[in-house]
């Protein structure tokens, strides 16, 4: 990672994917799966490493759940191989795979108690009774449900049920734990707490987790790496900061966070800097692009500064505030720079009071650093 500027300002020490000698725990190798005419998964190749927290992110119907079910064994690939620990597991039925899944609906057995639910997988493995009991207690403690072992699932709250589902999938010690939208049914506050609990659990147990989610915040917080999916294909795989700050294309840029896009022709591309001739004027951005062809410059709202006085230099756009939203920690501005053409800017509310507040109709000047913008060719 040294030699080029760090992305996202976080020093990562865990990066087995960057090590060419590391053998992946899971490998999807040119995997495709169609349902009727729909290509749910289309030629996906992907490696997941031991102890990694891997997120599959995409809108509903992008094939992320199908990809997970291919690993669990509930679907068979039409083409390609699914490898676990270097072995093709395509022929293994779900019950023989050391892969356990936490279902979106939790799928707790309603006729069994919490303890029996957690012991279910252990019993199938033929774990001795005493050890099963001990492991169930250990799991209950792990998910902070001590003393609730004799309850039935319908006597628990939503958050408690979620933790039982987690404990049940973890109890037989899977090689990889699959989490299918694990927090979709929780309310916002509980969801945020659970994210950190999941991360702690994964760290403490030293397990490999694969999470499927459509919630970009969730993926950004929990995952070591994110694979962004679209229409059955993987568009980009990378650390959260990479996916956010160096999106592979306009789709990823727009799916993760807000983005302002400038479309234009590349005038020059030299010295790691691109000059784009857009309808909004010339735009300077760091990166490279094909000279004379169409490209896009993407810039995130929080990297666009809002000034009340005219500015000099590159990447300055004059406009008027059309609308704003006060979010407490941030204020977002919608600035019209030409009829029908708006730019989003966001400003951290670093002080409680502001000497010259901005409002709708105010004339403002927007600016951003070339280094804060990304050149996209797709």
């Amino acid at each position: 990672m040294s030699g080029r500027p760090n992305i996202g300002g976080i020093r990562e020490t865990f990066a087995p994917w960057a090590d060419p000698a590391a053998a992946p725990l899971v490998r999807f190798d040119g995997v495709s799966k169609a349902f009727g005419d729909t290509r749910a998964v289309n030629d996906v190749s992907l490696s997941i490493y031991e102890r990694e927290f891997f997120a599959l992110l995409g809108p509903s119907g992008c094939g992320k759940t199908t990809l997970m079910r291919l690993l669990a064994g509930f679907e068979q690939p039409d083409a390609g191989r699914v490898m676990l620990g270097g072995r093709d597991i395509a022929a293994d039925p779900p019950h023989q795979r050391p892969v356990h899944m936490m279902f979106q609906s939790y799928a707790l057995f309603p006729h069994l108690s919490v303890a029996q639910n957690i012991a279910f997988g252990l019993k199938r493995q033929g774990v001795a009774k005493a050890e099963t009991a001990a492991r169930v207690e250990e799991m209950l403690a792990l998910v902070r449900l001590e003393g609730l072992g004799r309850r039935r699932p319908d006597q628990l709250s939503g958050g408690q049920r979620q933790r039982v589902a987690l404990a049940r999938a973890l109890a037989p010690r899977p090689k990889i734990l699959l989490l299918d939208e694990p927090m979709a049914a929780l309310d916002k506050k509980l969801r945020e707490e659970t994210r950190f609990e999941l991360m702690n659990l994964q760290q403490a147990l030293g397990l490999t987790f694969m999470i499927v989610t459509h919630d970009q915040d969730e993926a950004m917080v929990v995952a070591d790496r994110i694979a962004v999916m679209r229409e059955g294909r993987i568009v980009q795989v990378g650390r959260p900061a990479e996916v956010y700050e160096a999106p592979a294309d306009r789709y990823v840029a727009g799916f993760i966070g807000d983005v302002n896009l400038f479309e234009g022709r590349v005038a020059t591309s030299e010295g790691g800097r691109v000059r784009l001739l857009s309808e909004d004027g010339p735009i300077e951005a760091e990166g490279a692009g094909p000279v004379g062809e169409t490209a896009w410059v993407a810039v995130r709202p929080e990297k666009v500064a809002v000034h009340s006085e005219p500015q000099l230099g590159d990447n300055v756009l004059a406009g008027t505030i059309l609308d704003y939203g006060y979010l407490g920690d941030w204020t977002t501005y919608l600035v019209e720079i030409a009829p029908g053409r708006t730019i989003r800017a966001a400003r951290a509310n670093a002080t409680r009071t502001v000497a010259r507040p901005l409002g709708c109709g105010d004339a403002v000047w927007l600016s951003f650093e070339p280094a804060s913008a990304v050149v996209l060719t797709r």
Binding site: G73, P94, M101, F103, A107, P110, R124, R168, A169
Partner: protein, 294 residues
């Protein structure tokens, strides 16, 4: 504000039960406590309204449990009683064995086929029950369709009409929808991810069925079994048309007492005893349901 409304809502079913269940039941109960008499109608005592309150008193004093004592003295009643319960129990068992795979199969079908199959299960109701039983008679009789078919392929013929086997066959045939539908309702509602979760945790498909699908469908099985067992125990038409003289079932005993022997009190007493025994499994089932609901 809520209570009066639920109270109002209960009036209609309450009224219905009072008119069509409680009142006839009281009539039958009173008949069972009367004595047979050579009159029209053929029982005594009756209330002599001309005597006023004294008439009612005399009427009540004349009621007794003598008929019930009579039931215990003739082994015919006990035999018919046990035979009815045995046949109904046997038929309910066979219905479970046949109905469960059918219901399970339908619930595992694609949705559009499912609807068609449920329709197919209900379809026999479009034809009169009596006609369907007569059709079975035509199939099973010595020179009937079944034996003609068996003869045509060179197999020995069977003569099962007017035997207990025929009654059993008739009961199973007639009550199959009542077994399949509640079972199907339970199986269809079952969350498919439960079975996937079981397999994910190490169950083969067969183990997943026994450990998850089956225990979760027991309520439907109990509902179906009760729904079939209760009317089967009192069934009259099937044993009458398909059973032989040795097939003793309470429905027939009641009919014989009423219409052949003109012994209304005995017929009523048999009916009351039957009702009393059938209430027991219903209450057990209700209690089980209440436990689940809690």
């Amino acid at each position: 504000m809520r209570r009066p409304r639920t109270g109002l809502a209960a009036i209609l079913p309450g009224l219905w039960l009072a008119i069509f269940f409680a009142f006839p039941f009281l009539l039958v109960a009173r008949l069972s406590a009367s004595d047979s008499a050579l009159s029209i109608p053929p029982y005594a005592p009756r209330i002599d309204w001309s005597q006023g309150v004294a008439g009612v008193r005399a009427f009540l004093a004349a009621l007794d449990g003598e008929t019930y004592v009579r039931l215990t003295q003739d082994s015919l009643y006990l035999d018919a009683y046990l035979s009815s319960l045995r046949l109904a129990g046997l038929a309910a068992g066979v219905l479970l064995l046949i109905g469960y795979p059918i219901a399970y199969g339908i619930a595992r079908c694609p949705p559009r086929l499912r609807q068609a199959l449920v329709m197919a299960v209900i379809l026999p109701f479009w034809t009169s029950f009596l006609i369907r039983i007569y059709a079975w008679v035509a199939i099973l009789k010595p020179a009937g369709v079944l034996n003609a078919a068996l003869g045509a392929v060179g197999l020995p013929t069977v003569d099962i009409l007017n035997t207990e086997a025929a009654v059993l066959l008739g009961l199973v045939y007639a009550y199959l929808p009542f077994m399949v539908l509640p079972l199907y309702a339970v199986l269809d509602r079952q969350d498919e991810s439960l079975i996937e979760a079981a397999q994910d945790l190490g169950c083969t498909p067969l183990q997943a069925f026994w450990r998850v699908t089956f225990p979760l469908s027991l309520r439907g099985a109990a509902a179906g079994a009760l729904l079939c067992f209760i009317p089967m125990a009192g069934e009259f038409v099937i044993p009458d048309l398909m059973g032989g003289s040795e097939t003793l079932m309470l429905g027939r005993v009641i009919w014989t007492e009423f219409f052949a022997n003109r012994d209304w009190p005995a017929a009523s007493a048999v009916a009351i005893v039957l009702l009393a025994t059938l209430v027991v499994p219903i209450l057990l089932f209700e209690r089980e349901q209440a436990k689940v609901a809690r």
